[in-house]
């Protein structure tokens, strides 16, 4: 029975799902319930979600989870402290996407931390937004942060405002504001496109301490070049767990690591199979590579 507990149950379930996806013929009634073309993706999603849920449970039951330091997140206090000392504001830019974008949701978590620190230090945080729904959510988050540190009186809803939906109109407003008001700390967290470099370079020119986080790979080099700290992709998504320190959220990070191990194993298998198939010229191995590349990973 011990074998059917813990990770073994998850591994067994994963194997059964994988075998079902691989062996059950396309004509089976099962594929009326699940899209046949997406069967392997469904297995990958189920296995990954299973891993995350398992590690969340594990952490909740007292299992120890260690997380490495993320300098970008630890620098938040330093940046807000510097702004307080200089008597200048902090600005938080939550990207230009709406609340249906997971990066914008992740940015709200970091905003909660920034707002909490500004409330503690009696600093000002300004949140110009490019979407109305983001403005509403940001107001809720900042208000809750000010309440949490016992300073509801210091909360100013006018510091979180809507600018425009237009990408470059938003950038023009932010750049102008940064040059005029010279904020001491700039946070860029969320989904960014061409505006990333304009914002980060303007912030750099005014000497602000800058922390950025995004999951847009094309914008990462710009932030790395112009900001003091950059949260790269998954670090940005890990911010919530890192900042809260709650076991459940830390457990999800461990689940992500399991996902990475699975990806690494699949990569190794694929590379080895492709290499051996090329060297040996075996049609069976070539078919296996095709199956992996086009059926399972497609």
């Amino acid at each position: 029975m011990k074998l059917l507990r813990g990770p073994w149950l998850w591994i067994l379930a994963a194997l059964i799902m994988l075998l079902t996806a691989a062996l059950v013929p396309a004509s089976s009634g099962l594929w009326r319930m699940i899209d046949y073309e997406r069967r392997f993706l469904a297995v990958v999603v189920a296995v990954f979600c299973g891993a995350v849920v398992y590690w969340i449970r594990h952490a909740r039951q007292g299992g120890e989870i260690t997380v490495r330091r993320v300098p970008g997140l630890e620098a938040i206090d330093e940046a807000v402290g510097r702004a307080t000392e200089m008597g200048r504001a902090c600005i938080f830019v939550p990207g230009i996407q709406d609340m249906n974008e997971v990066q914008t949701i992740a940015s709200m978590t970091v905003l909660a931390r920034v707002a909490r620190t500004t409330a503690q230090y009696n600093a000002i945080v300004q949140v110009p937004t490019a979407k109305s729904l983001v403005m509403t959510s940001a107001r809720e988050v900042v208000q809750a942060a000010y309440l949490a540190v016992g300073r509801p009186d210091a909360y100013n809803p006018d510091s979180i405002y809507y600018v425009t939906d237009e990408q470059f109109g938003y950038v023009a407003h932010l750049s102008g504001m940064m040059v005029r008001d010279r904020p001491a700390a700039c946070f860029y967290m969320g989904s960014f496109f061409a505006e990333s470099l304009i914002l980060a370079e303007t912030g750099n020119a005014i000497g602000a301490i800058q922390i950025a986080g995004t999951a847009q790979p094309a914008q990462l080099p710009f932030f790395v070049a112009a900001c003091d700290y950059t949260l790269i992709g998954e670090e940005f998504f890990a911010a919530s767990a890192y900042l809260s320190g709650s076991p459940a959220e830390l457990g999800s990070l461990k689940g992500q690591d399991v996902g990475k191990i699975i990806v690494a194993v699949i990569l190794l298998i694929g590379v080895t199979l492709a290499t051996v198939a090329e060297i040996s010229g075996s049609p069976a191995l070539a078919r296996a590579v095709e199956l992996l590349q086009f059926d399972i990973l497609n």
Binding site: R32, D35, A194, S252
Partner: protein, 233 residues
Amino acid sequence: MKRTIPFLIASVAGFVLIIAYFVPFAEGWGESVSIWFDVLAAIAFILGGGNLLKNHLQKVSARKPGWAYSAITVAAFALTLFAGLAKLGATPNPQYPASSAWSGAYRETGTVFWWIYEYAFVPLTATIFALLAFYVASAAFRAFRARNTEAALLLGTAFIILLGRTFAGVYLTSWLPDSLYGLRIENLSVDIMRVFVTAGNRAIMIGIALGTAAVSLKILLGVDRSYLGSGDE
């Protein structure tokens, strides 16, 4: 209650989208959820427009520094809104010839809205976008200073890539014999992009994909509710 209902809406919508992706008969559900979001965002735009007007009118009223810019913003907002709503300059739809310009499309060529868009908005947007070239130059100047070995490697790689994309780069190494074809700058540039850059990019993409899935799951299960303003971060 204030947080439970939004959480339930987010959770149900999220699970519906997942089911719609994998279950053939539920395909239409995902589309419905997306339409609901669009309706919500459109209504929320009134909130944003109201907030914009409030902020700028307050600035004008208090004669704060830069109030003239706020006045221009409010005037531009009002003019564009009126031109769009009143469909100024729109020709009546041929299906309803007896009716006024209201049956036409507000964005058709020749309308006041179209004119504002084409001759004010597009040039202004293009101007801001064009500034990017100068920002790229200043960022590259800072990033490519050879302060240590890593920075020198970055500089060397960037030099090859940039040179490989120009005619001068192709000309410089065109004398190399065919046996050293791979060492020609344009080919080195392609190889760097295809092998090293792609490998690094894919590693980042895998991390992002797993991070996105984990965050989404935490939101759907209610493990992370910080976006609802719970104060738990």
